[in-house]
């Protein structure tokens, strides 16, 4: 294949006419957009807090001390500055495709950043005085930026929204490889930045949650803007064309995380925990996302894997006095969890839908209660099984730091490497199964069980297999979990954990790998980051879930829809209105 570079061709997209009340503002769209951008820039340069909060000055010199370096904007103020300038430029450059959509995304980003920081300063400072005027000092940063964001949004809508930009024509293979390499490297830096943004929440660092949320808001705006500009679609298309290459590079990139800013023991531990839940969420995604069977007790399989591993670990509280090598323990844990998966799955032969959910809920509860009561002496009861030794290989315990040549890996990096490999393996299992006879049978059952049977699918065994494989993957993760945390207690496998896993799958997008990983990352990073909001953590969490389900029910990384979007535009349905998709939907229901 030759590496001829061609300019990506941007296909023209139809402009969606502004609707409703905003239609009247159409002539002022450019002015509104520019004004919104300008206000955002001004907001970025204004002070944000009128006084030093009880917990110390607000980060990024947002307090009055900003006067010491008036032009030195950083952190969230830098994000706003960039967004504002981008908006002003876009307002006057007509040639950019999907301009309205990009501006809308930027507008939402500005709103999110100003609301998060403004609200935080307000609540910590004890009222609106903190972000307006108090004691003779003024600080309208948050308000000006928020108005800027709102004006930008109005301007974006008033000017009309075009369709997402599409980039046609693939480039040469080597050009695409090089581009993907750069993009994945950027992705690594981005992941490290997200993980470490705001730092580790603690008394000494009281604003970590706000900084993190603000960063997420800005990042969300940026990604939405890139998506509107067609960049995300273009990159996904490229990575799909080079599937094997992407998989290898992404794996390599993931293994490089300990060398970035996230390379400390704390972040390695956080990342390894995310890995455990990501692997488990992918397993759950087989059951829920592919086969469409609601499992409310899934975390029990993680627990079973952990308990099995703990009992063969040589810990003092272990039931068996045998110490098996870790790889073997993983296999045993996975198999035992798989057997239980088949047992739990067997009611699916007779029970459907809501009733099945109740059965799985009961199973999860049985596991928690019997572990709590130490049935069979296997779980240590309320004492848990503490003191599980770390995994060791070649005399190197995985929980200690390691120096290879001049590179020093932080403590926990080895566990991180191990979980990356496990997650990669779980992803491969999921991906391979999804694109096979078995995976299609699962999806068919999810879509219409009776029709699936009429197509010759023996739904009973196929559904039990879904439970079994999902449980096996969770068991695998459980064995890792036991050794990494060193303690296995029933408290880690309660109903709430099952629900969180389920939320991760649904939030990320059912039936997709990136969805499950993203969902698990978000749901298990947020509690870590929002420690100072401990009291409100679940509340914020719940509200966020409700909002996401309302505005993006298909999840953050949706399945087949995306593929349909990527596919070349097929002919429009016949002009006869009665045969359009809408009519079909009505007729089919």
């Amino acid at each position: 294949m030759t590496a001829i570079e061609k300019d990506p061709v941007v296909e023209p997209a139809a402009v969606e006419a502004p609707r409703g009340r905003l239609a009247g503002l159409a002539p002022y769209a450019t002015a509104l957009r520019a004004a919104g951008g300008l206000l955002t820039v001004v907001g970025a340069y204004l002070p944000w807090a009128t006084f030093v909060l009880n917990d110390g000055p607000y980060p990024e010199k947002a307090t009055l001390e900003f006067f010491t370096a008036p032009l030195g904007v950083s952190g969230f103020r830098l994000h706003l500055l960039v967004f504002g300038i981008a908006a002003i430029v876009l307002a006057f450059v007509p040639a950019v495709p999907a301009r309205g959509r990009i501006l809308r995304a930027l507008g939402w980003g500005v709103v999110a950043v100003s609301v998060v920081n403004g609200m935080y300063i307000t609540t910590q400072g004890g009222g609106f005085g903190a972000i307006t005027a108090a004691d003779g000092a003024v600080a309208f940063g948050a308000i000006v930026a928020l108005i800027g964001g709102a004006v930008l949004l109005v301007g974006a809508f008033a000017g009309g929204l075009e369709g997402h930009a599409r980039w046609g024509r693939p480039l040469g293979r080597f050009v695409e490889w090089a581009l993907l390499l750069v993009i994945y490297a950027l992705l690594l830096l981005l992941v490290a930045a997200v993980l470490t943004s705001g730092g580790q929440g603690s008394v000494a660092n009281p604003y970590s949650g706000a900084v993190f949320l603000s960063f997420l808001g800005a990042l969300g705006g940026l990604l939405a803007a890139l998506h509107s500009a067609g960049v995300v679609t273009w990159v996904t298309g490229m990575s799909e064309r080079h599937r094997a290459y992407s998989a290898i590079v992404l794996l390599a990139v993931a293994l490089l995380l300990p060398l970035t800013a996230a390379g400390t023991q704390y972040w390695m531990t956080v990342a390894a925990n995310i890995g455990v839940y990501a692997a488990t969420a992918i397993g759950l995604n087989i059951v829920v996302g592919l086969a469409g069977l609601l499992d409310l007790g899934y975390v029990a399989f993680l627990g079973i894997g952990a308990v099995v591993a703990a009992n063969f670990s040589g810990a003092t509280a272990a039931r068996f006095d045998i110490v098996l090598p870790f790889p073997l323990v993983m296999v045993i844990s996975a198999v035992v969890a798989g057997i239980f998966g088949a047992i739990v799955g067997s009611p699916t032969l007779r029970v459907r839908g809501d009733y099945l959910a109740i059965v799985t809920l009961a199973f999860g509860e049985i596991f928690v209660r019997s572990s709590q009561n130490n049935i069979g002496g296997l779980t240590g009861g309320s004492n848990a099984i503490p003191g599980i030794p770390p995994v060791t290989a070649f005399g190197q315990p995985f929980n200690e730091s390691l120096t290879i040549g001049s590179v020093e890996l932080p403590a926990g990096a080895l566990y991180y490497f191990l979980i990356v490999v496990i997650v990669a393996a779980v992803m491969a299992v999921f991906g391979n199964l999804k694109n096979s006879r078995l995976g299609r049978a699962w999806i068919a059952i999810r879509e219409d069980e009776d029709a699936a049977r009429a197509m010759g699918i023996r739904t009973g065994p196929v559904k039990i297999l879904a439970f079994m494989i999902g449980a096996t993957l969770a068991g695998l993760a459980g064995a890792f979990f036991a050794h990494k945390t060193g303690t296995v207690s029933y408290e880690s496998f309660r109903f709430l954990e099952s629900v969180t896993l389920l939320a991760a799958v649904i939030l990320g997008g059912m039936g997709t790998i990136p969805g499950a990983v993203l969902g698990a990352s978000i749901l298990f990073v947020l509690p870590e980051k929002l420690r100072e909001f401990a009291d409100y953590r679940l509340l914020i969490f719940g509200i966020a879930l409700v909002l996401i389900m309302r505005f993006r029910p298909q999840g953050l990384v949706p399945d087949a829809h995306r593929r349909a979007e990527l596919a070349p535009q097929s002919e429009p349905p016949p002009p006869d209105g009665s045969t359009g998709p809408a009519a079909a939907k009505v007729a089919a229901s």
């Binding site: 006879r437 197509m455 297999l465 349909a564 097929s570 007729a587």
Partner: protein, 282 residues
């Protein structure tokens, strides 16, 4: 109607030996007897029409034939062997069906829908699915090429990557037929394949069914459109209130006063008029 449509239907294929037979099928739902002692036989290369007023038990009969319902009494046999009471096994044995209210897998693409139909004919165990070895790749390639042929056969190649739910209504019905054909059936049961279609689409479906018959698949069709049935089928069965009222060639059924009286439930003159009108139009 144009001359094209006036042309007689495709030449009837030679009708061979009996392939599907039902003996005294009775289906009782609580106090309701949906089917009462229905017997019929289908020969190779034959197209049989099943008509009757709403609630006559036509779909129930299909469900009995495909193992979705276990008949209260009576038996169904394919090539002389009784059929199991399991839709999956019945499909494996060679009976495929479509549904009255389209039941595609809406979030799967057209291609994937047909691939699901290949399920029973693919040799691909769970381990092979997991490892994606050479045998897996061969069976996938085979299934995909067969799928492409079938989509071409029903005229849906261009919608291959489109989600089933986004297809126009008539195309959804044709996709359902392609999916059923993917199971390589010797008998195809079509439940109202032209419901909601306009005249051209109905005609296209008629030709499609002839093509399917010519490939060696026997067909049973449920339909309300009598014109469609009379110009399509070799034999027509009239089911009324769960009982087989009349069985015969389209001409025999058309002329039968019991059909006129019982089936349409309208004054004989008017029905006569309707049926004759139907005769003249094709």
């Amino acid at each position: 109607m144009s001359g094209k449509h006036a042309a007689p239907e495709a030449p009837r294929a030679a009708i061979g030996q009996s392939i599907l037979s039902a003996e005294g099928v009775t289906m009782q739902f609580g106090g309701l007897r949906a089917l009462n002692d229905v017997s019929f036989g289908l020969s190779e290369g034959e197209i049989i029409g099943l008509i009757g007023p709403n609630g006559a038990g036509k779909t129930t009969f299909f469900n009995c034939l495909t193992g979705l319902y276990a008949p209260t009494s009576g038996s169904v046999a394919l090539r002389g062997t009784p059929l199991p009471q399991d839709p999956a096994k019945v499909t494996d044995r060679g009976i495929a069906r479509t549904f009255q209210n389209i039941r595609l897998f809406p979030s799967m693409t057209a291609e994937e829908n047909v691939l699901v139909g290949r399920h029973v004919r693919m040799k691909q165990g769970p381990l092979s699915s997991l490892l994606h070895g050479p045998a897996f790749k061969r069976s996938e390639a085979e299934a995909r090429s067969r799928t492409a042929e079938l989509l071409e056969f029903v005229g849906l190649s261009r919608f291959s990557d489109e989600l089933a739910r986004n297809l126009p209504y008539g195309d959804q019905r044709r996709l359902e037929i392609a999916r059923a054909l993917a199971t390589e059936p010797s008998v195809l049961l079509l439940d109202e394949p032209t419901a909601g279609m306009n005249a051209q689409e109905t005609e296209a479906t008629r030709q499609l069914i002839f093509k399917i018959r010519d490939l060696g698949t026997s067909v049973v069709v449920i339909e309300h459109d009598t014109k469609f049935i009379f110009t399509l089928c070799d034999r027509v069965l009239v089911l009324v209130q769960g009982e087989l009222l009349v069985e015969g060639t389209p001409d025999e059924v058309r002329g039968d006063p019991r059909v006129v009286e019982a089936y349409l439930g309208a004054p004989p003159d008017e029905v006569e008029h309707q049926i004759h009108a139907a005769e003249e139009t094709p």
